[in-house]
Each structure stands twice: as structure tokens, then as C-alpha cells.
């Protein structure tokens, strides 16, 4: 039932996520330790002649899990920014929602000094 897809797809997804992560810092993603580690790991496990290599499957599974992690964190933060990150409405805005306006009292409110 493990519909993992092809390793190439996972690899490209991982590269894309690393690119997004490093876009803000401005540093090229190829210099990050994550990229170097992934390249090393993918290369090391590619050189086997067995058809059913358990280590390869494990590595692919871990890579897919990591990809899912990075992707969902990014999407979660994006959703949070869009829907929940705006903070509270000001009093003027809330009044404006129901068509009211705040009163202007040039003399100040009665109880303020």
C-alpha cells in the first residue's frame, strides 16, 4: 500500500522545498548542509544491483516523509498567515462592520482627566 511514487519525484520535491526555505535568506540552497547530506545519501544508495533493496526503500521512505514534513510546514504557515495571522480588528473597523461610526468627542470623554 506504500504508494511512494518514483524517487526522482521525491528528489525534485525536496529540492523545491529547500529552494523555498533558502529563498528568504538569499543563500544558494546548494551550500546548505541539508542539500549536501541529501545528495550524499541519494547517491550512496543508488549504487546497488539488487532489485529489491530494503535500504533503498527505507531511504526513499525517509526522504518522502521529510518532504511531507517540509511541505506541510510551509503550507501550514502560509495558511496561518492568510487566515489567522491578521490579529484583531480595531474598534473602528468592528464598528464599521455593522455600519456604525465611533463618536467624535472633541471635549474628551467625561471621565477622562
Amino acid at each position: 500500500m506504500a504508494a511512494l511514487g518514483s524517487p526522482l519525484r521525491t528528489w525534485r520535491g525536496l529540492l523545491r522545498e529547500l529552494r523555498y526555505l533558502n529563498a528568504a535568506t538569499g543563500r544558494p540552497y546548494r551550500h546548505t548542509p541539508a542539500y549536501r547530506y541529501l545528495v550524499k545519501a541519494f547517491r550512496a544508495h543508488r549504487v546497488t544491483s539488487e532489485k529489491l533493496c530494503r535500504a533503498q526503500h527505507e531511504l526513499h521512505f525517509q526522504a518522502a516523509t521529510y518532504l511531507c514534513l517540509l511541505r506541510s510546514i510551509r503550507e501550514h504557515v502560509a495558511l496561518h498567515q492568510e487566515f489567522h495571522g491578521k490579529g484583531e480588528r480595531s474598534v473602528e473597523e468592528s464598528a464599521g462592520l455593522v455600519g456604525l461610526k465611533l463618536p467624535q468627542q472633541p471635549g474628551g470623554k467625561g471621565w477622562e482627566p
Binding site: 545519501a41 521512505f61 489567522h84
Partner: protein, 325 residues
């Protein structure tokens, strides 16, 4: 816990006792806070990203993370060491990906490492296994609850025109699975999706489990419980923290076992865990700011937990094949 950030946002202001603006200004000597008022701690100021580079070094106990030149420490001020290099790389990437402010709620792997290092609840191995095995009785995949009951995670259908949504939030710790008796499509969906997973678990561990629609759930035979508990006992402390975390996220022991045995991917496990919600979403529509938000959060936590378990329990050895001829 993550739900509270949806509820208290703005609604927690009523807990504040100090006057804000001019609206709650006092008349007379000043308001005395009522004697029973809770002490309100304002949310901790967001820490800005105070470091430029994140690097990894190897110490005696394992791999350490350096933020600029300072070593990373856990909340209890212990040195942050991880046994596996891959885990160190992943944690370093998490810290490196923070921009401007440090959002600790996105750093799931760091949180898991901190929990394992500090063990703030002082739990030992048996307690962790017991906590995870508690979910066996009310496992999502076979346990029932009366349909549309208060304990289920199913969202009640809402009227699309009015846009009203009534969501029933689950009681903490109660797993939300159900084998319902109606509607028919849901019964079939549950059977098609969950039965193969149960079958796989039965074959893999040589145990017998069933499924039922009564409220008490199937009685798990003692032998099944023993087998699964002894299987869990074969993992080390760190991996067990991860397992317990994933079990409490997915509310299902069977799905967690499928994840760590590489039988299910994270997306599949999360989908199976949220099967009724997915069914309702398909029928009544998707609410992006709730359903997608929850889904992404659940996926992130589950993926972090699964990765943590895998990285903590693997031992990689590169065997070079001899070239013949």
C-alpha cells in the same frame, strides 16, 4: 493545544485586568482586580532570529547544533546533542528556515529532541509504552462511537447558504474513530480503507483483532496486547517518545505501526486517521481555514514524529560490495 491558538486569539483579552486605551479606564480610585482573577501572563514576546548561521559539529555525546558560535541548548539548559547526523541536519535546517521571528510551533523535530533530552514529565520506558498502548482500546481503525456523538471528530454538516459551521471538538484523549452503521457509503468507505490495514497488522504481528460497531469496541485479546507491547519495548527511549507522539496525533496504534514499518506513507496514514472528516468534506465542502489548516498541521506533526522514530532507531552501515573480476 494548537486549537487554543484559534480560540484564545483576541478572546483572551477579557482576562486582562489592566486598562487598555481609554475604554476600560476607571472612574474613581481604580478597579481592584477581583480576588479570584487568574494571573494573566501575556504571550512571550516573539524572539527574533538572533543568529546568522547554523552549523553542525560532532561532540563526544553526539552531534551538536551551533547558532553562530553559541551551542544550542534545550529548555532545561542541557546541551543539545542528537545521536544521528541526519537528525542533526534536519534540526539545523529547521533553525535555519526561521525568518525574522522564531516560530517554535513549526519546529517539530526540535521539540521532539528537547522532550527526549529533558524528559520533563519524567516518564520511563514502561510509562511511555503504557501511554501508547492506551490507544489500543479505542483505536481509530476499529473502535466505535455512536455516530454523530459528541466524542466524534466528525464535523456536523452545515448549511452552505448560511455558511454556518458547527464543529464538534473532540474531547482530549478520546480517539474519534467509529465504525458507524449508517450512512451506507461511509460504512463501505471505512471497510474498504481500514480493513486492509487491520489485515496487514494481523499478518505482520500474528495477532487477531476485529472490529465492531458497539460502543465498547472490540475486546483486544491479552495476547495481542502483549505482542504489541513487547514489540514497542524493542525501541529505544528516543524512538518511543516519537512513537507516543505519533500515536497521540493519529489517535491510532495500528496506523502508527503501519507508518514505522514503512507500510503507509504519512499522507495515507493521516487520511485514514481523518476518514470521516474526509468523507464529510467530500459531501459538504471544504473549509480552507479550518480543514486544510488542521490537515497540514496534522501532517507536519505526524511526519516529524515518523521521521524522528526512523532516524532514532536506524543504524546505518555502508557495506561495500566487492567487485568481481
Amino acid at each position: 493545544m494548537w486549537r487554543s491558538c484559534l480560540r484564545l486569539r483576541g478572546g483572551g483579552r477579557h482576562l486582562l485586568n489592566c486598562p487598555r486605551g481609554g475604554l476600560t479606564a476607571s472612574r474613581g480610585p481604580g478597579p481592584k482586580p477581583p480576588a479570584h482573577a487568574r494571573a494573566y501572563a501575556p504571550p512571550a514576546a516573539e524572539r527574533k532570529r538572533f543568529y546568522r548561521n547554523v552549523s553542525i559539529t560532532q561532540g563526544e555525546a553526539g552531534f551538536e547544533i551551533n547558532l553562530d558560535h553559541r551551542k544550542l541548548r534545550t529548555p532545561q539548559a542541557k546541551l543539545f546533542t542528537v545521536p544521528s547526523e541526519a537528525l542533526a541536519v534536519a534540526v539545523a535546517t529547521e533553525w535555519d528556515s526561521q525568518q525574522d521571528t522564531i516560530k517554535t510551533y513549526t519546529m517539530h523535530l526540535t521539540t521532539l529532541c528537547n522532550t527526549s533530552l529533558d524528559n520533563p514529565t519524567q516518564r520511563d520506558k514502561d510509562q511511555l509504552i503504557w501511554a501508547a498502548a492506551k490507544f489500543l482500546d479505542t483505536d481509530t481503525v476499529w473502535s466505535p462511537a455512536p455516530h454523530l456523538s459528541a466524542g466524534s471528530r466528525m464535523a456536523r454538516p452545515w448549511h452552505p447558504a448560511a455558511g454556518l459551521l458547527v464543529c464538534i471538538l473532540p474531547a482530549p484523549g478520546f480517539s474519534h474513530g467509529c465504525r458507524v452503521e449508517e450512512p451506507e457509503t461511509l460504512v463501505e468507505l471505512q471497510r474498504n480503507e481500514w480493513d486492509p490495514v487491520i489485515g496487514w497488522a494481523e499478518r505482520r504481528y500474528g495477532v487477531k483483532i476485529g472490529s465492531s460497531t458497539s460502543i465498547m469496541g472490540p475486546s483486544i485479546p491479552a495476547r495481542t496486547r502483549e505482542v504489541l507491547v513487547s514489540h514497542l519495548a524493542s525501541y529505544n527511549m528516543w524512538a518511543l517518545q516519537g512513537i507516543e507522539f505519533v500515536v497521540s496525533q493519529l489517535k491510532s496504534m495500528v496506523l502508527t505501526l503501519g507508518l514505522i514499518d514503512l507500510h503507509l506513507t504519512v499522507e495515507q496514514a493521516v487520511l485514514l486517521s481523518r476518514l470521516e472528516e474526509a468523507f464529510q468534506i467530500q459531501k459538504w465542502g471544504n473549509v480552507e481555514w479550518a480543514h486544510d489548516y488542521e490537515l497540514r498541521d496534522l501532517r507536519a506533526r505526524t511526519a516529524a514524529g515518523a521521521l524522528f522514530v526512523q532516524l532514532c532507531s536506524e543504524s546505518s552501515a555502508v557495506k561495500h560490495k566487492l567487485l568481481q573480476g
